[in-house]
């Protein structure tokens, strides 16, 4: 579906309604360890925090509110009970209210971007945001899929790897600068749209004490996948998780002949 914003100047309007996705992941500074049974990584007792790209997404939503481009910013997290803490961080940064789609522990390990995007799509049906901002990828699975899948499910335009979001020249659309392999690409997208945040979009703020206290009183609604009517049947099975191979020491050679000799030894050269 498409819903058209009837505004001449986006900045003068009531503002966009933004939905921001936050994922609770193992903190990026933690040294990740593989479980002895190779079924996954150790998460028990390990420090978790908000996915860094999602922090950037939250920051962008708050900034758009401060610039009066956005009117309301809602954070959503799909995850275990502890995801509530992640949502509190988002609220402490300036988000207005939060939605927690709680996933039971048994289904958590098998959760894939396809499921998350379906859950988010359902929430979009009722919340009707003008803009969804997600982190471009989560640092635990590095999938980089949820934003794109969500846009496809909703049949909305997508602007991924955003390093800048601003109103377009005629203020009827959003102008997004994207980080691509060749450099920067600037596109205009009509809203509603899905945008995913890249590293250089902004630098997230620290949550200030007054906001940390206020966050406790902001609404946090709970939902279940059943309520949303989404089937969490896994499409993939993880066979094993292993450490990357230990780097072997290299060897120095003294001459070209030595080099060729060594290459021959390894069967790399006939």
């Amino acid at each position: 579906y498409i819903h058209i914003i009837n505004k001449a100047d986006m900045a003068a309007s009531k503002g966009l309604k933004i939905l921001v996705g936050c994922k609770r992941v193992i903190d990026y500074a933690v040294k990740v360890r593989v479980k002895p049974d190779r079924s996954g990584v150790v998460t028990e007792g390990v420090k978790h925090s908000m996915n860094p790209f999602d922090e950037i997404a939250v920051e962008e939503a708050v900034r758009m509110k401060e610039k009066k481009l956005a009117g309301e910013a809602v954070a959503i997290s799909v995850g275990p009970p502890q995801s509530q803490e992640t949502l509190r961080t988002a609220l402490a940064m300036g988000i207005d209210r939060a939605i927690h789609v709680e996933i039971p522990l048994a289904q958590l390990e098998k959760l894939q971007p396809i499921h998350v995007s379906k859950l988010l799509a359902k929430v979009c049906e009722s919340e009707k945001p003008d803009l969804v901002i997600l982190g471009k990828q989560a640092i635990d699975d590095d999938c980089n899929q949820t934003g794109q899948m969500l846009a496809a499910l909703l049949d909305w335009p997508q602007a991924t790897f955003a390093s800048k979001i601003e109103p377009s020249q005629d203020s009827k659309q959003l102008r997004v600068t994207r980080e691509v392999d060749g450099g920067l690409e600037t596109i205009d997208v009509s809203v509603p749209a899905v945008v995913t945040s890249d590293l250089r979009l902004n630098e997230p703020r620290y949550a200030t004490l007054p906001n940390i206290m206020k966050a406790k009183k902001k609404p946090l609604a709970k939902m279940s996948p059943d309520q949303l009517g989404v089937d969490l049947q896994p499409r993939q099975e993880v066979i094993s998780v292993e450490d990357p191979p230990v780097r072997k020491a290299g060897a120095k050679v003294e001459s070209v002949e030595d080099l060729v000799g060594k290459l021959r030894e390894k069967g790399l050269v006939k």
Partner: protein, 515 residues
């Protein structure tokens, strides 16, 4: 992949400071002070070389036979770096550096030096701040850097046994792999060695919670000035059999022997560490916040540091670090460490609510939301020393005072030195009653030093404080020992020194005044 290549940049954006601010910086280029520091003998012309022998070729050969030619350093350029302290305020004239690998080698070296009456300086990470780890004249440097083996960690009892040359940060990493942590933490952790930590009874950021090395060191092994090996390396938690001689060596700053091994009791590594960073506008507010912290955070409080606005200005201007709070007269770091994240967050929430509702207390502050923010906020405190060095020359003071007097001293000295220094910075371990007071000038200025000393020490003495809370006396403060210790106590110390070091070869000119 592109994703993988961007992530390191993300990590760089919030650079953890713990990777040894000291290690990264190596030695400050001291472009402001123009190259090499002056010879210590020029700054202290009153100190005369002791009646020690001169180094001969025969001595060098003897050392080569003990440690091997590769580990006897004679080259002037290499030897120079061992002669200069981390603060670059001392430069000695040692000609020789020895790098033994085992206790037996250390023992043989010291035995030879004692027989020949050659003065020696034990040196670990050379991060000491009172000129205690470098030669003054031509003392031989005995470096423990090659004695860097971790000998054992017992995950049940928490006892870690290591050689003296192990770097503190590396020991902490090893302890972490067993769910433990080293009981001390200081800004120099990337470079300082455990032997030196013991020799100086190093304090640091978490003494408030884990106590001092005097409590957490279960045993040690050392080579005494006669060359004899003192084996007190027990891993027992309780052992009341006779005099506890290791306590003499702890804090002796290398003047009673060279520590070669240590057994440390490591606490369990906390599962949840939280950090609150507050902006306050009066020192009374700092004291009130501390009282609140002790009451509401109690058993989980693991650090309580304060920073004044001048110190914050230094890290911002000189190192380009950013502070997430606005301008305040004081900043406080309150850290908690515990075994249950939910509990600890609740307690921290309670503390914050009290702090915000208290009159005149913190209204500006933040709580670290992830490891990156945690490391950044700590760096604002841990890198103050480094930032002050950029100004040029730093005069460092480290005193213990009654809490109410701590900032009075800073204000008093700031007024006294107004116009003569670039800045007067006050910060420190408020929870321990320990103030770090520093002044900076572009170059060493004898007149400024005269204005500071002995006045600052007299001020501390008059309030029954300590003229050196944790840095030790080294060279720089040895003549002020009587400001904090009774004369008879000092004489007993001299007796002990004479007993263990009859020829006075072990790190002379340090700790005890020259008499």
């Amino acid at each position: 992949s592109r994703a993988a290549s961007l992530l390191p940049q993300l990590l760089l954006r919030r650079r953890p400071a713990s990777a040894g601010a000291f290690a990264l910086l190596a030695r400050p280029a001291s472009s402001a002070s123009g190259g090499l520091p002056p010879l210590t003998t020029e700054i202290h012309p009153g100190i005369k070389r002791g009646a020690f022998s001169q180094l001969t070729d025969a001595d060098v050969s003897a050392f080569e036979a003990i440690v091997g030619g590769d580990h006897v350093i004679k080259d002037a350029d290499e030897v120079l770096s061992y002669n200069i302290d981390w603060l670059r305020i001392c430069r000695g004239q040692g000609q020789l550096v020895l790098r033994p690998k085992t206790t037996e080698e250390v023992s043989a070296i010291v035995r030879h030096c004692n027989k020949r009456r050659l003065a020696v300086v034990p040196q670990g990470g050379n991060t000491g701040l009172v000129g205690g780890s470098v030669p003054l004249f031509d003392e031989i440097v005995i470096s423990t850097s090659r004695m860097n083996s971790l000998l054992s960690i017992d995950p049940v009892s928490g006892v870690l046994v290591a050689e003296a040359g192990c770097v503190l940060e590396q020991l902490d990493r090893e302890a972490a792999s067993q769910g433990l942590m080293m009981p001390l933490d200081l800004g120099a952790k990337g470079s300082c060695q455990i032997g030196g930590n013991l020799a100086t009874n190093a304090g640091g950021l978490r003494l408030l919670r884990y106590g001092s090395l005097r409590g957490t060191t279960l045993g040690l092994e050392a080579v005494l000035p006669t060359g004899q090996v003192l084996d007190c390396l027990t891993t027992l938690r309780k052992d009341n059999t006779g005099y506890d001689i290791k306590q003499l060596l702890i804090g002796s700053e290398g003047t009673l022997g060279i520590i070669t091994k240590a057994a440390i009791l490591c606490p369990a590594r906390p599962k949840s560490v939280q950090l609150a960073f507050l902006g306050l506008d009066s020192f009374q507010a700092v004291l009130d916040t501390y009282r609140l912290a002790r009451r509401s955070l109690g058993e989980i409080l693991s650090a309580f540091e304060f920073i004044d606005s001048e110190s914050m200005r230094a890290v911002k201007q000189n190192l380009g670090l950013s502070c997430p709070l606005g301008e305040h007269s004081f900043y406080v770091l309150a850290e908690t460490s515990g075994s249950n994240e939910t509990h600890d967050r609740e307690k921290l929430d309670g503390f914050i609510e009290s702090v915000m509702s208290m009159d005149g207390c913190a209204t500006d502050g933040t709580v670290a939301q992830d490891a990156g923010q945690f490391a950044h906020l700590w760096s604002l405190r841990e890198r103050i020393v480094e930032s002050l060095l950029v100004d040029g020359y730093e005069y460092k003071y480290d005193v213990s005072l009654p809490l109410a007097d701590i900032y009075r001293l800073v204000e008093h000295m700031r007024t006294r030195l107004d116009g003569r220094v670039i800045r007067t910075a006050g910060y420190g371990h408020l929870g321990d009653g320990n103030l770090h007071l520093n002044f900076t000038t572009p170059k060493f200025d004898a007149k400024v030093l005269e204005l500071i000393e002995p006045h600052v020490f007299d001020w501390v003495r008059d309030r029954r404080g300590s003229v050196s809370a944790e840095h030790g006396l080294g060279l720089k403060k040895s003549q002020y020992i009587r400001h904090s210790k009774a004369d008879f106590a000092v004489r007993v110390m001299a007796e002990v020194k004479r007993l263990l070091d009859p020829n006075g070869i072990m790190n002379p000119y340090k700790v005890l005044p020259d008499e």
